[in-house]
Symmetry: C4
Subunit: 198 residues, 4 copies
Amino acid sequence: MRKSRAEAFSDGVFAVAATLLVFSVQVPDVKTNLGHALLNLWPAYAAYAISFATIVVIWLNHHAVMDNIKAYDRTLLYLNGFLLMTIAVIPFPTFLLAKYLVAGHDDAPAAVAYGICMSLASLSFTLISLYARWRDLFVLRPNFYVFTIGQLLYPLGTVLSLVSTRLALAIYAAMVVYYGAYPLVYEARARRRGSARL
Amino acid sequence: MRKSRAEAFSDGVFAVAATLLVFSVQVPDVKTNLGHALLNLWPAYAAYAISFATIVVIWLNHHAVMDNIKAYDRTLLYLNGFLLMTIAVIPFPTFLLAKYLVAGHDDAPAAVAYGICMSLASLSFTLISLYARWRDLFVLRPNFYVFTIGQLLYPLGTVLSLVSTRLALAIYAAMVVYYGAYPLVYEARARRRGSARL
Amino acid sequence: MRKSRAEAFSDGVFAVAATLLVFSVQVPDVKTNLGHALLNLWPAYAAYAISFATIVVIWLNHHAVMDNIKAYDRTLLYLNGFLLMTIAVIPFPTFLLAKYLVAGHDDAPAAVAYGICMSLASLSFTLISLYARWRDLFVLRPNFYVFTIGQLLYPLGTVLSLVSTRLALAIYAAMVVYYGAYPLVYEARARRRGSARL
Amino acid sequence: MRKSRAEAFSDGVFAVAATLLVFSVQVPDVKTNLGHALLNLWPAYAAYAISFATIVVIWLNHHAVMDNIKAYDRTLLYLNGFLLMTIAVIPFPTFLLAKYLVAGHDDAPAAVAYGICMSLASLSFTLISLYARWRDLFVLRPNFYVFTIGQLLYPLGTVLSLVSTRLALAIYAAMVVYYGAYPLVYEARARRRGSARL
C-alpha cells in the first residue's frame, strides 16, 4: 500500500468533515430582527470553532504519527479507517451541541454525545499507536503519555457532562489547547537546542 | 491518462461519500428528553458504521485492484466512473435504512434499496475485473472468486430483505467482515512465508 | 503556478459536486408503502445518473485539455475557476429536475435551468480552449469542433425545453453519450494504428 | 511537516467550501410557476457567484503565499488552520445573504455577517504574512500592502452594511475584482519585461 494514497483518502475525510461543520450554524428563519437572531447563535459559533480546531489539531497529530510509520499493513489501515469513522462523525455531536446550547435545554445529553465521539477518536489513536509499537512499525517511538491524557480526560468530560455541561465543554476546549500547545512547546525546545525541525 | 489524477478523483469521491454518511444520523428535534431520543437512534448509528466500513473496505480493495493495473484506457475510466457512481449513491440507501429502522416500519423496502446499491457496486467491480483481464491490463491476475462472492451474496441479501430485514442486514454486515478479513488472512499467510508485503 | 495544485483543487470540486448529487434523490417521508414511493422516484435516479455521468465525462475531458497545456497563467486559472463554478452549480438544476419530474409539473423551467448551466459549462470550456490557442499554451492543438458541438446543442436543448421537456432531456443525455463516446472512437482508431496511448 | 500534505488538506477545505456554496440557491417549493420563482432567486445566484469567485481568488493567493514559504512550523500551520476555519465558514454568511436578499428584508445583518467573515479571512492572511516575515520564512518578501487593503476595506464594508446593504455588497464584489486583477496586472508587467513567470 503506497502511503500517499492512504494519506489522500485520510486528508479528504478530515477536510470534508471540517468543512461540513459549517452546518452546525443554522440559518435563522425569522420574519424580523435577524441581527438579534444571529447574536443568539453564539454557542453555535463556539461549537463550530472548537470542533474545527479539534479536527485541525487531530489532523496535524495524525500526520505526525503517520509520517513516523515505516510501512502500512492492512490492520493499520483498518485502525486508520476506524479513526476516520470517528472523525467523520464529529459534525453530528457538534450539530447537537450547537442546536441545544442555542435552544437552552437538554445540552447535557448533547455534551455526553460529544464526549463519547471524542473518546472514540482518542481510543482509535491509542489503538494505532499500540499496534504500531507491537509490530515495530514506528521509525521513532512517539511519546505515548501524550495520547494517554486524551484517553483519560475525554471520558472524564463525558461523565462530568451529567453534572455540569459548562465544565465538560471547558475540558473539551482545554484538550484542543493542550494537544495544540504540546507540539509548540516541543518545537520551541528543539529550536533552542539548535534544530529547527519538529 | 496519468493514474495519479484518476486516483485523486476516485479518492475524493470515496472520501466525500463516506463523510456525507454522517447525515444518516438525524439531529433529533425534541422539546425534552434528548438523551432518550439519542438512544433510540441506535439503528442509525449501526447503519452509519456498516456503510462507513463498507466504503473503507471497498476503497482499500479498489486501491488494490487499481494498483495492479498497468495502464488505464478510456473504457476502464468509464467503468471506474460507474463504480464511483454506485459508491456516491451509498449515502441514499443508508439514509433510508437509518430513517425507517428508527421509525420502526417499512424497513424492508429500505433494505432492498440498500441491497440493490451494493449489488451494483459489486457488479461494477466485476466489470472492471473482467475488462482488465480481457484487455490484459493486470500486472498480476487477482483472485477472481473473491469478487464473485459479492456478486452472489448482495443480490441474495436483496431478495431476502422481502422475507426478513434482519437477515438481509446480517448478510450486508457479514460481507464487510468478509471483504475486510480476506486480505488480512492473505497478509498473515504471506507474513508466515517470509514476505511482509501484501 | 505548479499544475499539480491547480489540478488538486479542480479534482476536489469535481469530486464533491459529483458526490453531492446524491441529495437529488430525496428520502421519502411516508407513513406506509415506502416501496411504492421509491419506485415513483425513478426520474430522480435518472437525473442523478445523467448528471453524475456528465460530471465524470467533463472531468475526463477537462483532464485531457489541461494535460495538454504547457503552463498555466493567471487568466487561464480564472477561466478554469469559471469552469469550476459552472460544475459546482450542477447539483442545483439536478435537484430541480429530480424534484419537478417526480412532482409531475413545472419540469420545463427545471429543464431550462439545467440547459443554461450546461451551456455555461460548455462556454467556459470553449473560452479555455480559445485562450490557450491565442496564447499558444497548447502542446498539441485539440480538435476544436468537438467542443463547438456542445456550444450549439446545449443552448438548443435549453430552447427546446419550452416545447418539450422530454426532447430536451434526450438531448442532454445524448450529449453525455457523445462526449463519452468520441474519445473511445478516437482511442479505438489509435489502437488500430498501433498506438495504445490516447 | 511535508508541505504537500498541508496543501492537500488546505485544497480540500477550499474545494469543499466552494462546492457547498451551491446550497445557497434553495430549490423553490412551488405548486406552479417555477419559472417565475427561479427568476426571483437572482440575488442567490449573485451571492453564489461572488462567494465562489472570492474562494477561488483567496485559494490562488493562498497558493502564491504558501509556495513562497521555505518551511512550515507548527505556528504557521495553526495560522493556516485559522485561515481555513474562516474559509470553511463562508457558506454560512452566503446562505444568509442569499436567503434574506431573496426574502427582501433583514439583508443588512446578513451583509454584516458576510463582512465579519471576510474581515476574519483577511486578518488570518495578514497574520500568516506577519508571522512568516518575523520568522524569516519567506523565500521572497511579498508585497505587504496588497493584503493591507483587504484588512481595511472588509471592515469598512461591514460597517457600511448598516447604512446601505447595496454599497457593502458593491465593496465585497470590488474586493474580488481587486484581488483577482492585481496579479493579472503584475503578470502582464512581468510579461512585458520578458519574464513569463509570476
